[in-house]
């Protein structure tokens, strides 16, 4: 296996020693292709754990396998191999048992737009075996928590995007799940609604809820307790956002050079460091970057058009683990 994978497994996780909410072991999934040779595995031996009470992020570019993994975890799709235990119960072998513990907030809305908010929640409750006063009380509680009480009898299609997402979360939370799965929960939300969302996540976390969410936004990944970075169907890195950035160590220097390839080769030779060419820029990881820059510029006069130095971001982690840009992967 690749060295990245070994590193992921060696890293002592923040979840170690705590009860696990979700254990994903070697899950693989391939979409059918016309010939078996054409089948690209959407998930290729994905493994990670989520501790009880954590907010866990699955970060990756679109097409990296997040949505497929989400479908498997939400019991909508069956993988070709692997296990996924929700509080010890295998959701692949025993989906019916695991479903009661999982609340799901889908990326594409699952609300019936022709029904009112309350009707949607009522049907959802009944699908989970809730009826009568118990259901009524739970719906009232969720409506007031999500600030939707006054819109309860409005058709979903008349609600704004932000309010629809709130109703969507209320729907996922209705049967009091222990693990909440959310696929790209902030997609399409304006900044205000996005802030509301993260406030609500923090509130749920305080109450002990375990949350797994997928995102393609670095700044949202930063807010998670722990992360797994998913690229081309594999987990390429895992850990807390701080741990992940630490592994780069020091600073990231980005050089815009006249001839990036030649510059990268020369810098590598001269300083014995890794200089990765990405989209026409040269990327160098170095401790005390500000002290190194005068050396670098002095060594290659006239070659360098601009130099920037910055603290590593999760995108840098992604670049280091995959050798390509987060957003450029589709090409």
């Amino acid at each position: 296996m690749s060295p990245e994978k070994a590193a992921v497994e060696e890293r002592p996780s923040a979840a170690a020693g705590r009860a696990l909410a979700l254990e994903v072991e070697a899950v693989s999934f391939a979409y059918p292709g016309r010939r078996s040779a054409e089948r690209v595995p959407a998930l290729d031996g994905v493994s990670f754990n989520v501790g009880k009470g954590e907010v866990f992020g699955l970060l990756g570019p679109n097409g990296g396998g997040k949505t497929t993994l989400f479908k498997v975890l939400s019991t909508a799709s069956l993988p070709s191999s692997g296990r996924a235990l929700v509080f010890g119960r295998d959701l692949i072998a025993d989906p019916a048992g695991a479903r009661r513990d999982i609340g799901i907030v889908f990326q594409s809305p699952s609300l019936d737009r022709k029904l009112t908010v309350k009707e949607n929640l009522t049907h959802q409750g009944r699908l989970y075996g809730w009826t009568g006063r118990r259901l009524e009380a739970r719906i009232g509680e969720l409506l007031s928590r999500t600030g939707l009480s006054s819109r309860a009898s409005d058709l979903v299609e008349t609600l704004s995007g932000g309010l629809q997402r709130r109703a969507e979360i209320a729907k996922g939370m209705l049967h009091v799940p222990k693990l909440l799965l959310m696929d790209e929960p902030t997609t399409g939300l304006d900044p205000g609604a996005r802030r509301d969302f993260w406030t609500y996540v923090a509130e749920l976390k305080r109450e002990g809820m375990t949350i797994l969410l997928t995102t393609h936004l670095m700044e949202e990944a930063e807010r998670c307790d722990r992360l797994a970075i998913l690229s081309r169907g594999k987990v390429v890195a895992g850990g807390t956002p701080a741990e992940l950035k630490e592994e780069i160590g020091g600073d990231v220097i980005t050089v815009l050079a006249r001839d990036p390839a030649a510059f990268s080769a020369a810098a590598r030779k001269r300083f014995g460091l890794e200089a990765l060419v990405l989209d026409g820029t040269v990327r160098i990881e170095r401790e005390k970057g500000h002290e190194f820059i005068p050396d670098l510029v002095g060594t290659f006069p006239g070659e360098i058009l601009s130099v920037t130095v910055g603290k590593p971001t999760l995108e840098d982690v992604f670049v280091r683990r995959t050798g390509h840009r987060f957003w450029g992967e589709e090409k």
């Binding site: 939400s74 799709s77 069956l78 993988p79 048992g97 699952s110 019936d112 022709k114 699908l127 075996g129």
Partner: protein, 267 residues
């Protein structure tokens, strides 16, 4: 399912069926779309053909064409309603509602049953509206064998909604469903004895009509409206109509459940 029959099957089935009804009656255009076209067909085709073709076939002795065409029109209403309500499976999938249903702790069979039962309820109601118009077709409601007519209407609605569900479950666009409807469902109705009786049809067509399960549904309503004495000796008998329609319903339901129980799998 480890959960009880109530929580794992009946409750989810019932809630999905009631959602189906709520949605249907909330979209007025759907209500009108299912009732009005068949009524217009009945009146226009019935009036036009009735004047042009006076030859009375054996099965329709003593009836004018409007009367003859009436049971077939009810079946057409039921068929339209069944089709429109099962097309909603495609919408449910595309708009996302279905994803939260298939990941809920309910049996897949209850999803199929809920959907089919909801569609059946709608079709039955729409059919009933038209049955009340029966005096227009020379049938007095007082002499109508209600139990038989509604029993049959229920079985036929159930069978056609089940058929629609089985077709729609795997489809990803309503356009695809429309081509199936034109290629398969409409001919099925044309050749059910709705428009013309089997007796006058050429031999090969007679064979197709005999094999068409809908023929027995139309004949059943004809028996109900125009009495057993007229139906005496006419194929098929009321009992045969009942059994064939019931078998048709069980078959389409079984097919729907079988299709819907399959989960998306990795290749």
């Amino acid at each position: 399912m480890s959960r009880g029959l109530f929580a794992g099957f009946l409750l989810p089935g019932a809630t999905l069926a009631s959602r189906e009804m709520t949605r249907f009656f909330r979209q007025r255009s759907r209500v009108i779309g299912a009732v009005l076209p068949p009524v217009i067909f009945w009146f226009l085709i019935g009036s036009g053909l009735g004047r042009s073709f006076r030859h009375a076939p054996a099965g329709a002795a003593g009836q004018n064409y409007l009367e003859y065409f009436f049971p077939g029109t009810i079946i057409l209403i039921v068929l339209f309603t069944a089709i429109f309500s099962t097309i909603s499976v495609i919408e449910d999938r595309r708009e996302g509602f279905l994803q939260s249903v298939i990941t809920a702790p309910v049996s897949r069979a209850s999803i199929a049953f809920g959907k089919i039962l909801g569609g059946t309820g709608i079709a039955l109601l729409q059919g009933t509206v038209f049955v009340v118009l029966a005096p227009l077709a020379g049938v007095s409601l007082a002499s109508l064998p209600f139990l038989y007519v509604f029993g049959m209407l229920f079985v036929i609605s159930f069978a056609l909604t089940g058929l629609g569900f089985a077709i729609a479950w795997r489809m990803d666009s309503a356009q695809g469903f429309h081509s199936v409807m034109n290629l398969f469902l409409m001919p099925m109705w044309f050749l059910s004895g709705s428009l013309f009786p089997m007796e006058g049809a050429p031999g090969w067509l007679k064979g197709v009509m005999t094999a068409n399960p809908l023929t027995y549904g139309v004949a059943a309503l004809r028996h109900g409206f125009y009495g057993a004495e007229r139906a005496a000796g006419v194929f098929p008998s009321p009992a045969l109509c009942f059994w064939v329609s019931l078998g048709f319903g069980l078959l389409t339901t079984a097919l729907s459940v079988a299709l819907c129980t399959r989960r998306e799998r990795s290749a």
